[in-house]
């Protein structure tokens, strides 16, 4: 019986989708009647065991001391951070704190970085980071910055790829659930940020059931300074109250446009899983941002309230500042003809992806069994011909047939995201059928399919959403891990998988665990980043107001019950390392400068009873830890980063006296 009815995973994978379900059902049925393949065989097959080519290990092995070929930046999802890996090894290099505090690096705990997490709601120690996006020049990743969105309290962050530190965070006003962000234009003129939740515009107290027609969605265009990278919200486009899910910008011939997917065009406010899945087609919104610039220039905008925080970190003062900006410029599409068009796209499209030529716009209709592709050329023609199918809140809806370029027929179930390679192929993830499908752009034929373990969300090919994709590796980021790794109890690691896409057929090479939950990712060749990174901060360029740039500059200054300690560290001592005259109830600021000017010689600082974190200070940098001594005593502090042969001796004492004592304030190093 077994020999007759056994169907292996590869056969399943090459079947068209409905047959696959039937095949799976058949296996299931046979299993129940206990005359099918053995449970173990099916399980083994489901895990993809035995499907690996024999030299897979060799292809992901990076010899000790050698470098990976690519950087991969995977978002941390609900961890709020951004993780840096190497490809093909899948080794984790750094977790860059972005939206969540990190006591290891004192991010959000030291005085310098606290302003980075300020918002109009005050200090927020966490967010949900989804989509990293590398800066681009002429449609190609340039390795200068990487942007990432904070989903929950809408924000966009910019990470500098010289230092791999978060250097700027801007809050997005009139927005909620900052999901369709931050996708860059061809020359990083803008990164865009769309609202997932429609909300009252302006926010106000009103009945939820009055959603329809009253809630709005704001799409923000954040201007990026081409030299400094500084961000500001240039304008917002005030859209109908749909949910704006994802975005990508046009490139090449479609440069000047950006595309946003929508769902819940039904404008439901409850039980969305049903109520937002009723319309046969939702829309891809096409925004002509060059046109928007003209309207802004012509003064066709309204200046509206839009309170938002703008936080900026400086490598010179090693400190961040936070300011509140009150207003934004808003464009209303109903008053700006030619600014926005809707392209009907089947079944709640999730990702919208533009092929490297800029011609094809792929709508990944997540409840559809097909994949819909629109043509940019046809879209322009449809606009010219006014091939409209009515309008939505004054925004023309283009005729589906007039913009439709082709359909990839029944490639799988639950398409979410598409990326491209350098040979004219596209790769789409299917969440429900848990696979990556390779298809040909233009002919829409399916070339190959490979299972993922399990339920893939985003995928990433280095440069795969730019004008110059690479064609070597594909990373699939899975939503479910189950049994792929040694168990760690109910909560298990998240997982990414590396595929070789250089051949006609994709090959699975490697599983590797990830932090948080990776959503989107970006990849870039090492040569665009590695040689340009900062090794040390020059002490001469340190303009921190509390820096002590040599042991001679160290001092302790009391102002009432506030005490400033100007301290230095260098292998292997603190200066001063004996401090007396601190009193219970004082507010003590340790301003600590690392005097080292050598690569990879950070020093740490921790003091007993500190209620915040340690400090981890890079060479040439100054950081500040505030400490509230609670009891009298002699309190030790020490270096937390094993810095040198005499690291263990790198320690000191603070004498804490009673509030009313008259212990003299003094400090020293090397005196008895």
């Amino acid at each position: 019986m077994k020999a007759v009815f056994f169907i292996n995973q590869n056969q399943i994978n090459t079947m068209k989708f409905p047959f696959k379900i039937i095949a799976l059902a058949l296996i299931g049925g046979l299993f129940i009647t206990s005359c099918g393949p053995s449970t173990d065989d099916v399980k083994k097959d489901m895990r993809g065991e035995g499907a690996l080519s024999s030299d897979a290990a060799e292809r992901v092995y990076v010899k000790p001391g050698e470098y990976d070929e690519y950087y991969a930046f995977l978002s941390g999802g609900f961890s709020g951070q951004l993780a840096v890996y190497g490809l093909p090894s899948g080794r984790l290099f750094k977790v860059i704190p972005v939206f969540s505090v990190d006591p290891e690096k004192a991010y959000g705990f030291n005085e310098e970085t606290k302003p980075m997490l300020e918002t109009t709601h005050g200090f927020i120690p966490w967010d949900d980071s989804h989509h990293p996006e590398l800066s681009q020049t002429d449609g190609e990743t340039d390795g200068r910055w990487i942007f990432i969105n904070g989903n929950n309290t809408p924000r966009i962050a910019r990470v500098d790829l010289k230092t791999f530190e978060t250097v700027e965070i801007i809050e997005i006003p009139n927005s909620a659930g900052n999901h369709s962000s931050p996708f860059t234009t061809e020359n990083t003129e803008y990164v865009v940020a769309g609202t997932r939740f429609a909300v009252p515009f302006q926010q106000k107290d009103m009945a939820i059931k009055d959603y329809k027609g009253n809630f709005k969605g704001a799409l923000s265009y954040i201007k990026v300074d081409s030299v400094t990278g500084h961000m500001n919200i240039e304008f917002q486009v005030l859209m109908p109250g749909f949910n704006y899910d994802l975005s990508h910008s046009g490139k090449g011939k479609s440069h000047g446009w950006s595309f946003f997917t929508t769902y819940n065009t039904e404008e439901a406010s409850t039980l969305l899983e049903v109520n937002a899945s009723q319309n046969d087609k939702d829309y891809i919104a096409a925004i002509n941002w060059k046109k928007a610039e003209e309207y802004i220039k012509a003064g066709k905008f309204k200046t509206m309230p839009g309170k938002h925080a703008h936080n900026l970190y400086s490598d010179e003062t090693h400190s961040a500042t936070s300011e509140i900006i009150d207003e934004v410029k808003v464009l209303d599409p109903a008053e700006c003809p030619g600014l926005v068009y809707f392209m009907p796209t089947p079944k709640s499209p999730h990702g919208v992806d533009v092929d490297p030529t800029g011609e094809y716009i792929v709508g990944n209709g997540k409840l559809s069994a097909d994949l819909t592709v629109h043509s940019f050329t046809k879209m322009l023609k449809a606009i010219e011909d006014k091939a409209y199918d009515g309008d939505a809140y004054g925004i023309p809806i283009l005729k589906y047939e007039a913009v439709h370029a082709g359909t990839v027929k029944q490639p799988g179930l639950g398409p979410l995201h598409t990326e491209f390679d350098d040979k004219g192929n596209a790769y789409t993830t299917f969440f429900i059928s848990s696979e990556v499908v390779k298809w040909k752009v233009g002919t829409w034929e399916v070339i190959d399919r490979k299972p993922t373990y399990y339920s893939v969300g985003h995928l990433m090919i280095p440069g795969g959403d730019s004008k110059k994709p690479t064609g070597k590796y594909l990373v699939a980021m899975n939503k479910i891990t189950k049994d792929r790794y040694l168990s760690t109890g109910p909560e298990v690691t998240q997982s990414a998988q590396l595929y070789d896409i250089s051949g006609e057929k994709m090959e699975l090479l490697l599983d590797f665990p990830t932090i948080g939950e990776p959503h989107y990712a970006q990849g870039i060749h090492k040569d665009k980043v590695h040689p340009k990174t900062t090794k040390i901060y020059k002490l001469d360029d340190n303009h921190h107001p509390f820096a002590a740039k040599s042991d001679r500059d160290t001092k302790v200054v009391r102002e009432g019950n506030i005490v400033h300690v100007y301290m230095t560290m260098i292998r292997s001592h603190f200066a001063p390392d004996n401090i007396e005259g601190i009193k219970v109830g004082d507010e003590v600021y340790f301003h600590i400068t690392n005097l080292e000017q050598d690569y990879d010689v950070p020093h740490g600082f921790s003091v007993l009873g500190a209620q915040n974190s340690e400090l981890l200070v890079m060479p040439g940098q100054t950081e500040t830890l505030v400490w509230y001594p609670k009891y009298e005593g002699v309190i030790p502090f020490y270096c937390t980063d094993f810095c040198s042969a005499l690291h263990q001796e790198m320690q000191g004492y603070v004498r804490v006296s009673a509030r009313k004592s008259n212990t003299e304030l003094k400090w020293s190093l090397g005196e008895d």
Binding site: I536, Q597, D598, S644, A645
Partner: protein
């Protein structure tokens, strides 16, 4: 005439010494894959990075070696003056054009070169042997004298020490002066 030109050229070569280091000492250890490189010039001591000297000092203080600071070397003040004087002599001798003077100059600069290298040796000896009694790391019998010329292993460091451009300039200047002597007829006038 040939002699005068060669002698004058020798003087110019000496002046060019200010443009190149005389000696190069490179330290390498597992923690310093790129190495720490120190250059000794006629009038200064530099590193390949702005912080190199500090980094060498930071390493060396664990075993009690002295801090290298350019201000502790009177040589860096004296050397330039000597160079100016000797090159001025070269020009004067070239002007006079006597072959015996060329030979005298050759002898002078050769002696100065030997004295310079000996001075370098005594400093390296002192630097490597005269250790602070309070050093954190003491290895009985271990001295840290870098080689004057060549390669040596000192604890965890590999050390290379070789002459650089300015030293070669002296050698060429000596050679030029000898040529000047050779090409100048005995009866000059």
């Amino acid at each position: 005439m040939k002699g005068r030109i060669l002698m004058g050229s020798a003087g110019i070569l000496l002046l060019l010494m200010f443009l190149f280091p005389m000696w190069k000492i490179t330290l390498s250890a597992p923690q310093y894959p790129d190495g720490l490189t120190m250059y000794i010039w006629v009038n200064k001591i530099t590193g390949d990075e702005p912080g190199t000297l500090e980094n060498i000092n930071l390493m060396n203080h664990y075993v009690g070696m002295k801090m290298i600071e350019p201000s502790m070397f009177p040589e860096l003040e004296i050397f330039p003056v000597v160079i100016y004087i000797v090159s001025a002599l070269a020009f004067i001798f070239a002007f006079i054009g006597r072959r015996k003077l060329y030979l005298l100059w050759t002898g002078l600069i050769s002696i100065l070169g030997v004295v310079g290298v000996y001075d370098f040796y005594t400093w390296l000896y002192d630097y490597g042997h005269n250790l602070s009694p309070h050093a954190a790391i003491k290895v009985p019998g271990q001295a840290y004298m870098p080689p004057v010329f060549g390669y040596k292993i000192l604890l965890n460091f590999h050390v290379w020490s070789y002459p650089q451009g300015a030293s070669y300039l002296i050698a060429i200047a000596v050679f030029f002066a000898l040529l000047a002597w050779y090409f100048t007829p005995k009866k000059a006038f």
